[in-house]
Structure formats: structure tokens, C-alpha cells
């Protein structure tokens, strides 16, 4: 197919984005005329939009070919299909979990859903980016939507502070990214990632190293890797928990895509440069994330540092610098999103009107108050710790395997030692829920059937994918060549 031919049919691969952009306009109009009178209706519509979107993505999926559209700026490949489907599903689940939480805090407004959908559109643009311009477009669309979501609770000073911090640091990161991109453009004269890959082949040349440095820093910032992680715990803690749930999940898919498209694809010729830079970042991220998480008393902060440590594992997959490593990182990312949806979901569901279940001590004796929630959380915690029979085990296994394949003995040792350190604070959550007695004062948890059912499915998926890991492992290996 010629890249410039623009028939209606040739737009098929871009259906998810086109559909989503149209749907956002629809949701916005719906909110303006109907949603304002019936709070919650827009949320239902948004869920419907996401469900139909997932269906359309599957219907228009071409899982064998790689199609480049829009003059080389846009790519639809099997990887993009998988990531977009994961994006639809994870945003849908995140919005489903958040509903009561938003209502209780009187921020159940249509704009929340519109912002979530525009963020998702940004994620999609990033996933399918094939030129530096598209990458930047996606990054900004996602980031701006998320800044607004963090500040969504106007009354909360903490949220405003978090949003401000996020915005300022995010803007710096965007600037660094742009700067790196401009050097690449200066060196190669093109914005197209494929042509950049063909042109940038000389490692250790000063210009390339400079460009790679800036891009690596920007990617590390977006992922929340140490030492560019400072924003992450503050934002996770300060944002409304439903927003924490949102930014802790779907955007990670986008930033995985960012790293893959920019580094593993666009700068494939100088893999040796950026793997060398990512290696210390990965080690620092693992160590700092796990060690600092040990001393947290706020569960949102603890999960934030836990996120950082997982980012360390994902980066290790990139450090391996092989297709196997990227497939491992993809698998880890998808597993991370699945598990985080559940664990942040529990934090959302345990909160009530006027009560944030954000302290670890709020989970004392959760087993007695709500066995299902406690069981789900225990499964999710064991999974994050990497204990079989849960899916988190396979994610760690894949990363270690990729590291062995590239003969990184010391990285393997650091990774396994850090996973033991991490186990401690996940176990502590289980301990609080199951071994401690509940104080009398804690309010009941969310009881709505649909949400609890979704959480049950979420936790069951963690177990089923853990016992039968082959399909997802195969899928990840298949879409990464």
C-alpha cells in the first residue's frame, strides 16, 4: 500500500483514533445538554464508548501486517493493536472502579470522563507514533489531560500542589524531549523514525550521544525512573485516588510505547549507547523504589514507590537490548497494568464519603470487614511480589531470562535481591489485612455488585494468567519482532 494513498478504506488501521476523537466530541455534547442534569449519565456513556471502541479495535485489527499511514507519521502494527486494546480495557476498568468515589467527593462531572478519553487518545497517538512529531503530539495530549485530572478536585490543596508539581516538572521533561528530538533532526534531517533508524548508526559520536542523553532523560522522567522520579510519589499521593488509579495504569502502556518507538526502534542503530545509560538508571530505580517503599505509611505513596521499582524492571528489559528483552518489558508492562488496576482499585473501593483509605493502618483487619476485597488485595500483593501461582511471577521470570540471554549476571543478582526486598512491603499489606484486628471506627467498603464483580474478575485474571501464562507470553513475543 502506498503511504500517500488516502482512500477511506486505507484509514481502516486508524479506526481506534478516529472513532475515539469522534466519540469525545459526542461525550462532550452529551455532557453539555444531558449530563449536567443527570450526573453519572456521562460516565455510563463513556464506558459504552470504551466498550464499543474495544470491539471496533478487534474488528478492524490486522495482526499480521505493519501499515504506515499519513505520510509516514503513523504506524499500525500488531504491537499497536495489542497496546490499544489494553488501553481501552484498562481505562474502562479504571473508570468503572472510580464512579462511587467520584460521587462521594462531588466531582462526578462529565469533564472527568472527557479528560480521561482525551488522555486515552493521547496514549493511542503515542502508541502509533512513527515520527518525532507524532510522538510529541501524543506525549503532550496525554500529559495535559492528566495534569487537569490531577487538579480535578478544586477544593483540595494537596491535589493542586500535586498538579502544579506535575505540570512544572512535566514541562521541563517535554522541553528536554524536544531538545533531544531537535538534535536528532539536525543530525538526520528527518522526523520519520524509520529514516532516523537508517541514518543514526554511529554509536559514540558526540551529536548522537547528546541526542540520546536528552531522549533517555525524557523517557526516564515520563516513566518515573530514578533520579527523575521525584514527581511520582507526590502526584500519586496528592491526586484524588481515582486519578491515581488512572495515571498508575493506562499511561504506563503509552510510556512503554514511547521507549520502544524512540529507543528500540528509532535509535536501534545506537542501542549500545542508550542501554549503557539505562543500566545505572534501572539499578537505581530498583534500589530506591524498593528501599524507600519499605518505610512508607501511606498506601498511595507505598504503591507509588512500588510503581517506581516496577519501572526499574521494565527498564531492565530495555537494558537487555534484544527483542526478547522488549517482549519481556511489554509483558511486564501489561501485567503491571493489570495488577495495578486491581490494587489501586482496592484503595478506591475501600474509601468512603469523607474517608480516604490512604493510610496503611486503614487496612487493618480488612479481612473481617470485607473478605472479598481482602482476598483480592492479597492475591494482587502476592502477584506484585512475584510469587507463583500469580502472573507477576512470570513477568519477573521473563525479565531475568532476557538478562541472562544478554549475559548480565550482576543485573540478575540485583533484580532477584530487590524482588525479595519488595516482597516485604507487599507482605506487610497482607499482614495488616489478615493478621491484625480491625479497629471499630473504620467505615464499610464499597458494596455495589458490578464494581465488586469487576474486581473479582480482575483478581481472578491475575490467578488464571499465572497458572496458564502461555497465551499472553506468546502474544507479547509475537508482536515484538
Amino acid at each position: 500500500m502506498s503511504e500517500s494513498m488516502m482512500t477511506l478504506h486505507s484509514l481502516g488501521p486508524a479506526v481506534p483514533e478516529i472513532y475515539l476523537a469522534a466519540a469525545i466530541c459526542l461525550v462532550l455534547l452529551f455532557e453539555a445538554f444531558i449530563g449536567v442534569k443527570r450526573p453519572g449519565a456521562t460516565g455510563t456513556l463513556a464506558l459504552l464508548v470504551l466498550a464499543v471502541g474495544a470491539g471496533l479495535t478487534v474488528a478492524f485489527a490486522d495482526v499480521t501486517h505493519r501499515v504506515v499511514l499519513f505520510d509516514g507519521s503513523y504506524v499500525a502494527d500488531p504491537l499497536a493493536f495489542v497496546l490499544k486494546l489494553a488501553g481501552f480495557l484498562s481505562v474502562a476498568v479504571a473508570l468503572l472502579y472510580s464512579r462511587t468515589y467520584l460521587r462521594n467527593r462531588e466531582i462526578l462531572k462529565g469533564e472527568y470522563y472527557v479528560l480521561a478519553l482525551t488522555a486515552l487518545l493521547g496514549i493511542f497517538v503515542l502508541i502509533s507514533a512513527n515520527s518525532l512529531l507524532t510522538v510529541y503530539l501524543g506525549v503532550e495530549l496525554l500529559a495535559l489531560s492528566v495534569y487537569a485530572m490531577v487538579a480535578f478536585d478544586r477544593e483540595s490543596g494537596l491535589a493542586a500542589e500535586a498538579a502544579m508539581k506535575y505540570f512544572v516538572l512535566g514541562a521541563i521533561a517535554s522541553g528536554i524531549l524536544l531538545y533531544g528530538m531537535s538534535i536528532v533532526y539536525g543530525l538526520t534531517g528527518t522526523l520519520n523514525l524509520g529514516r532516523i533508524a537508517a541514518a543514526v548508526t554511529a554509536p559514540d559520536s558526540l551529536g548522537v550521544v547528546l541526542a540520546v542523553t536528552f531522549i533517555v532523560v525524557a523517557v526516564a522522567f515520563k516513566l518515573g525512573a530514578v533520579p527523575f522520579h521525584m514527581w511520582l510519589p507526590d502526584v500519586y499521593e496528592g491526586a484524588p485516588t481515582s486519578v491515581t488509579l488512572f495515571i498508575g495504569t493506562a499511561p504506563k502502556i503509552a510510556y512503554f510505547a514511547l521507549a520502544l518507538r524512540l529507543l528500540a526502534h528509532g535509535l536501534a542503530g545506537v542501542t549500545v549507547d542508550w542501554t549503557r545509560m539505562l543500566m545505572p538508571i534501572a539499578v537505581l530505580t530498583l534500589v530506591v523504589g524498593n528501599v524507600v517503599a519499605l518505610v512508607q505509611t501511606n498506601i498511595k505513596r507505598m504503591l507509588a514507590y512500588s510503581t517506581i521499582s516496577h519501572v526499574g524492571f521494565i527498564i531492565l528489559g530495555f537494558v537487555a537490548g534484544t527483542a526478547s528483552g522488549y517482549a519481556a518489558a511489554l509483558y511486564y508492562t501489561l501485567v503491571y497494568v493489570l495488577v495495578s488496576l486491581g490494587s489501586f482499585g482496592v484503595v478506591v473501593l475501600a474509601s468512603r464519603k469523607g474517608f480516604e483509605a490512604d493510610q496503611l493502618s486503614d487496612y487493618k483487619g480488612l479481612y473481617r470487614r470485607d473478605p472479598l476485597l481482602a482476598l483480592a488485595m492479597a492475591m494482587l500483593m502476592f502477584s506484585t511480589a512475584g510469587v507463583p501461582p500469580f502472573v507477576g511471577f512470570w513477568a519477573k521470570l521473563r525479565i531475568i531470562q532476557a538478562l541472562w540471554e544478554s549475559h548480565d549476571l550482576w543485573l540478575v543478582i540485583i533484580a532477584v535481591v530487590m524482588s525479595v526486598v519488595g516482597a516485604f512491603y507487599y507482605l506487610r499489606v497482607v499482614k495488616l489485612m489478615y493478621f491484625d484486628d480491625a479497629p471499630q471506627t473504620l467505615p464499610p467498603t464499597e458494596r455495589s455488585f458490578g464494581v465488586r464483580f469487576a474486581l473479582g474478575v480482575n483478581a481472578a485474571a491475575v490467578l488464571v494468567l499465572g497458572v496458564l501464562p502461555a497465551p499472553l507470553l506468546d502474544l507479547c513475543a509475537h508482536v515484538i519482532h
Binding site: 543478582i413 524482588s419 525479595v420 516482597a423 507482605l427 493478621f435 502461555a470
Partner: protein, 504 residues
């Protein structure tokens, strides 16, 4: 049925556990009976396993193989040989007293208690039955979760500390083994244990892999100096938890050495055997002394377990000492036989002793030796059992405890006089701490009013202690069937253990 016998052994108890869990605490009467029936059925399944076991071959039997993760050539592959089969039977056997002992003793969340043990049982049998390293590791790690909950929920006052220490210790050990397994997979493209055993490895590689195995298995055995989790875990665990911990989980370390360390990294084992021998002797002697000074009955038995497991590791690694000193492997099989019998025997005896302590604890709610005295006056039948198991623990001829220790000491004579002299010290030490325990708890005048009010064993307790006593005596006087079952596999293992795998 024989085609799926091992799968049934694994999944029947797990399925029963899930059913009990779903029935919940309200239907606990049904849950209890289902648990008992499931454990009895699991033991019944061991009958065809034992009867149809071919004692003339070292090859895996009752083989099952199904695709699990085709991409990694990892299979749901099961099979047993003479080393794993007796341990599976031991597992099936020892879960029954746990269920019966809890009958009306566990009042808090009984359904979850039974479910945890049933799921544990299936996972433990899975560890012994797996012939694929990834599947083995899967069961090996999954087992930690129920045990973590058992100690943490139904344990004593310091249960949280004990259970987190237990989990982290074993987890730390295991992850290094995982790294080693993945390394070998990357080298040979398969997770089959047989493929690992056939994989040539340089001495440097073997040393690293040996170190990883050593950390994993030494923690589990446990060997001095990584044993400190065990006394804590035992003291805090509920009776059933202690029984399973001592009877089965410790055996996994010994099993790991036999199945993984010796055949996969034989050259490293040959180079480093002295380290294991020394650590084993320290466990036997030093920990024996430590056991002498304990004030808490469970702690005493826990230390005694460490000392007895020292015999297992000693017996396993004697093959290299014998090879070095005599140039042949005559007698090496005896050492391994001894180690295996010791594992089975210790499983029975330590389990029984923990059940005895449980019987006392249920009545008096204390484990301190000083709170007892003269129990024989009020509980004569119980005293009889306790004395029998205590004597078995000291290695009295006629009990199962004698056979294993005797074989190991005999084999160690072939290696080095001093090994056997030091190892034989245990006969004195074990007699010292065990008999002193019995003297202080069971004999003498009635210690206090509470002891005076004790009631003797009820039918349920009599049944389990009586059955275990019978097995202990049976293995003691007639160990031949057990040795016959193990024979070819041990012979094969001796060959593997002394063959070199360094690529020419």
C-alpha cells in the same frame, strides 16, 4: 487411572481445599468431613502408587506430560522415582493427623485452616512429582503462601514476626535458585530436569549454580547458620503448621540436594563437599547443645530437627568424601539410603512429637517445660506415646530413627573416622536433650494443680498417635521395602554424582 495418578494426588487435595473454602465457616461440619475424606482419599491413592511402582528401574514412572508453555519448552511434566515416591507417601500420610488434630481445637476460621492445609498438601506433592524445573519451582514457591497464612493467622503471640521471617528467608533462598534455573534454560533450551542433568557446565558455572542451590536448599533444610527462621516459625505456628513444616517442608531441602545439586553440578559438589560436611557436623553437634538449653518444648524439638537434618545433608554428601578417601564409591549408596530413611523417619517422629506437644498445649496453653512435670500420673497413655517418640528421636534400635542414623554413621566410617566419631556424638546429645525433656515433662511427681487436673488422650488423639507409633515401629523393624524402593534410584544418583560434566 495410572496415567493420571500423580495429577490426582496433586489436584484432589487442592480441589477439596477450594470446596472447603467456598463452603465457608458456616458449613464447617461438612468442611471438616470433606477435608478428612480428601486426605484419606489422597493416602488411598498412594496405595496403587506404591504397589505398581517398579523397584528395578531408576527411570521416572507414572509419567505425565502436557504442554504448558510451549514457547519455553516448559511442560506440565510429572513422574516419580525411588527418591520422590516415598516423600509423596509421607506427605499424604502426615496431612491426615493435621486434619484430625484440628478437629475441635481450631475455633477461629476453621474452614480456611483446613483449606490451607489441603492446598498445601497438593502443592507439596507437586514439588516432589514435578520433573520439569519450572513446574517444580512453581509449586515450591506457591507453597509459601498457605504456610505464611497458617503461621500468621493461627500462630502464637509473635506470629507476625515469625511468619514474615519465614517467608523472606525462604523467598530469598528460592529466587537465586530461580535465577540459576533460568540460566540453565537459556543454555539448553529446556526446563526439563533431565536436560539440566545432562547439560555440560564448566566448573565456574557449576560453582555459581551450586551457590544458588545451596542458598535455596540450605535455608529450607535448614542448615546452620541459616536456620534461625525455623525455631521462630515452629514456636509460633499452630500444631498442624509445625507438623507440616517439620515433617515435609524441611525434606524439600534434602530432596533439592538429591534431585538438583548432585546430578546437575556434580563437579562443584565434589569441590565443595567439605563445606557441606562441616556445616552438617556443626548442625549435628552445636545445635544439639543448643537444644539442651531450651525452655520451650517446641523450640527444643525445632532445634532437634535441625540437628537431625544435619544427618541428611551429611549422608547426601558423604559420597564425595568416600570417593576422595577410598577412590571408589562403595558405601556411598549407604549414606544416601541413610539420608533418605532419615528424612522419612524424621518426618514421622518430629511430626508425632509436635502432635504430642499440641496435645499438652491444648490442655494447658503453655509450652514451657517448667510448667509441666509428672504428666504420667494423670495421662499414662499419652506418656507412653511421648516416651516412645522421644526414644525414636534419640535413635533407639527398633524405631525408624535408628535406621537412618545408623546407615549414615556406618557410611561415614568409610569416609573418615572423625566424621563418624563426631556424627555419633549425636546419639549422646539427642539422648541428652530428649530424655531430659521427657524426664522434666512426663516423669516425677505431679508438678502443679493444673497438671493434676489433666485428662488423658481422647479417642481422636489416641488414633493419630497410635497410627504414627505403628508406622515408626514398622519402619524401624522392617525398613527393607523402603530401601528396596529407593535402591535403583540411589544407585543411579551415585553414578551421576561422581560423573564429571565439565566439557572436554
Amino acid at each position: 487411572m495410572h496415567d493420571y495418578l500423580l495429577s490426582l494426588l496433586i489436584w484432589l487435595p487442592i480441589a477439596a481445599g477450594v470446596v472447603v473454602l467456598l463452603l465457608g465457616e458456616r458449613n464447617i461440619v461438612a468442611g471438616r468431613w470433606i477435608s478428612l475424606l480428601a486426605t484419606l482419599a489422597t493416602l488411598a491413592l498412594c496405595v496403587p502408587l506404591w504397589r505398581n511402582f517398579n523397584t528395578h528401574t531408576a527411570a521416572y514412572q507414572f509419567i505425565e506430560k502436557a504442554a504448558w508453555i510451549p514457547r519455553f519448552h516448559a511442560y506440565y511434566a510429572l513422574g516419580v522415582d525411588g527418591i520422590s515416591m516415598p516423600l509423596i507417601v509421607l506427605t499424604a500420610l502426615m496431612t491426615i493427623p493435621v486434619v484430625i488434630a484440628a478437629w475441635d481445637v481450631i475455633k477461629a476460621r476453621p474452614a480456611q485452616y483446613y483449606a490451607s492445609f489441603l492446598i498445601m498438601e497438593g502443592l507439596m506433592i507437586g514439588v516432589f512429582a514435578a520433573t520439569d524445573a519450572l513446574l517444580f519451582y512453581f509449586f515450591w514457591e506457591a507453597m509459601l503462601i498457605p504456610m505464611f497464612l497458617i503461621i500468621g493467622i493461627w500462630g502464637g503471640p509473635r506470629r507476625v514476626y515469625a511468619t514474615i521471617k519465614f517467608f523472606l528467608y525462604t523467598f530469598l533462598g528460592s529466587v537465586f535458585m530461580l535465577a540459576a534455573l533460568i540460566y540453565m534454560y537459556v543454555k539448553c533450551g529446556s526446563y526439563s530436569i533431565a536436560a539440566f542433568q545432562a547439560l555440560p557446565l564448566t566448573l565456574t558455572e557449576q560453582r555459581w549454580i551450586f551457590a544458588a542451590f545451596l542458598i535455596a536448599f540450605a535455608v529450607k533444610v535448614p542448615m546452620w547458620p541459616v536456620h534461625t527462621w525455623l525455631p521462630d516459625a515452629h514456636v509460633e505456628a499452630p500444631t498442624g503448621g509445625s507438623v507440616i513444616l517439620a515433617a515435609i517442608m524441611l525434606k524439600m531441602g534434602g530432596y533439592g540436594f538429591l534431585r538438583f545439586a548432585l546430578p546437575i553440578v556434580p563437579d562443584a559438589c565434589r569441590h565443595l563437599y567439605f563445606l557441606i560436611v562441616v556445616l552438617s557436623l556443626i548442625a549435628v553437634i552445636y545445635i544439639g547443645f543448643v537444644a539442651l538449653v531450651q525452655q520451650d518444648m517446641k523450640k527444643l524439638i525445632a532445634y532437634s530437627s535441625i540437628a537431625h537434618m544435619g544427618f541428611v545433608t551429611l549422608g547426601v554428601f558423604l559420597v564425595y568424601a568416600i570417593l576422595r578417601n577410598t577412590g571408589t564409591t562403595h558405601g556411598a549408596a549407604m549414606g544416601m539410603d541413610g539420608a533418605m530413611v532419615q528424612m522419612v523417619s524424621h518426618g514421622l517422629i518430629s511430626g508425632a512429637l509436635f502432635l504430642c506437644v499440641g496435645v499438652l498445649y491444648d490442655r494447658m496453653h503453655t509450652r514451657q517445660i517448667a510448667d509441666y512435670g509428672g504428666v504420667v500420673n494423670t495421662m499414662p497413655v499419652f506418656a507412653g506415646f511421648m516416651v516412645l517418640f522421644a526414644l525414636a528421636n534419640t535413635g533407639l534400635p527398633g524405631t525408624s530413627g535408628f535406621v537412618g542414623e545408623f546407615l549414615v554413621i556406618l557410611a561415614s566410617f568409610k569416609a573418615n573416622f572423625w566424621y563418624s566419631a563426631l556424627a555419633a556424638l549425636t546419639l549422646i546429645l539427642a539422648a541428652g536433650y530428649t530424655l531430659w525433656l521427657v524426664k522434666r515433662v512426663v516423669f516425677g511427681p505431679v508438678g502443679n494443680d493444673r497438671v493434676a487436673k489433666l485428662k488423658d488422650l481422647n479417642g481422636r488423639e489416641f488414633l493419630i498417635l497410635g497410627a504414627l507409633a505403628a508406622v515408626v515401629l514398622l519402619v524401624g523393624v522392617w525398613p527393607a521395602p523402603l530401601l528396596k524402593v529407593m535402591g535403583p534410584s540411589i544407585q543411579h544418583l551415585v553414578h551421576q554424582a561422581v560423573a564429571t560434566k565439565i566439557p572436554a
